[in-house]
Amino acid sequence: MKLRIWPAKTKEKRATVLAGLILLQAICALFFIGDVIEDFREDGHLDNPHLLLESVAAIALVGGVIFLMIELRGLLSRVSDMQIGLDIAQGHLADIIETFFDEWGLTSAERDVAIMILKGLDNDSIAQVRKTAAGTVRAQATSIYSKSGTDGRAQFISLLIEELLADNQHLGSAEAALNAKTTNAASPDASGETT
């Protein structure tokens, strides 16, 4: 798993830049506020023009920081909505796969194995994860291919991809649900976060 410090997606990059700017502006504001405090301590009053300029600069910078923070919060909420939409779409894809498994009459163990095959795990890895023998997995895989009418791993995988790509109606309804969900305020239950 790659450790990504610089995010790949544009919106996330923007959010990181915004955060950096907020930090920099805050430090600049600190600098001017410090100056104002020091000058105030020496003079005791705030009427000299130099001091006035510094105060204005400090206030402007602080205002800028608050404004950027609100912008950042908005940006992050849009990113989160996009993520929720993605989760929902993935949830629907899972539905579609489930439908096929029902059609083929796969047992629950076979479903697990089928998913792992789709994820690209080889039989030995599957056996490791499920803590069974490789022979058991081979038997389950054979049953899966037979029930789905495929010759083997490659054909099984491409069969599902074809079905998923061809079945636009299913994806269309996923999109409709996506729009419905994102216009309502996103709640934790709508995402894939809870079981």
């Binding site: 798993m1 450790l3 955060a19 930090l23 430090i27 600190l30 923070m69 989760d87």
Partner: protein
Amino acid sequence: MAAVAQQTSGRVSAREVAVWDPLVRLIHWSLALTILLNGTFIEEESKTHEWIGYIALGLVGLRLVWALIGPKHARFSAFPPSPARAVNHLRAMLSGDKTIHLSHNPLGALMVYNIWASVIAIGITGYMMTTITFFGVDWVEEAHEVIFGWLLFSVALHVAGVAFDTWRSGVNLVRAMINGRKTIPYGREVE
């Protein structure tokens, strides 16, 4: 619907949740840097020392504002200061509860407030030492040093706590504070 997603697509994979936004992470590591610098390399009686101290204060101030107006996981409401909750969390951990907290867990919350309060106290006593009223006054200087010692101890405890909780929960907390995402192992409840 979501349950189906878990069953079929989630069986062997964990799920990633975006928790720490860029500002939280930036402030966290910057603050750590200021503490490291002022605690080790930077000479105590220097202008640089003072400035790094004020920056540390500024960073905590910024974080406090963000905790008021920022996104969900960054807010005070996500990790309220509550010794009662911390005790409950401790009990839950001991009884094997594996629920994962997306934001700071109740114990972590106490540590976070402790560190912020310590930094503020150190910053204020530091500032006081530059004023005529408190210049050269013993208790201010001593408080500054003692609280800093407490801060270092707290940081050590914090690092140990993060290591322990990473091990216990299976969530890589350090990586989460770098790229913002917590990878939740399959089947775990989050709160």
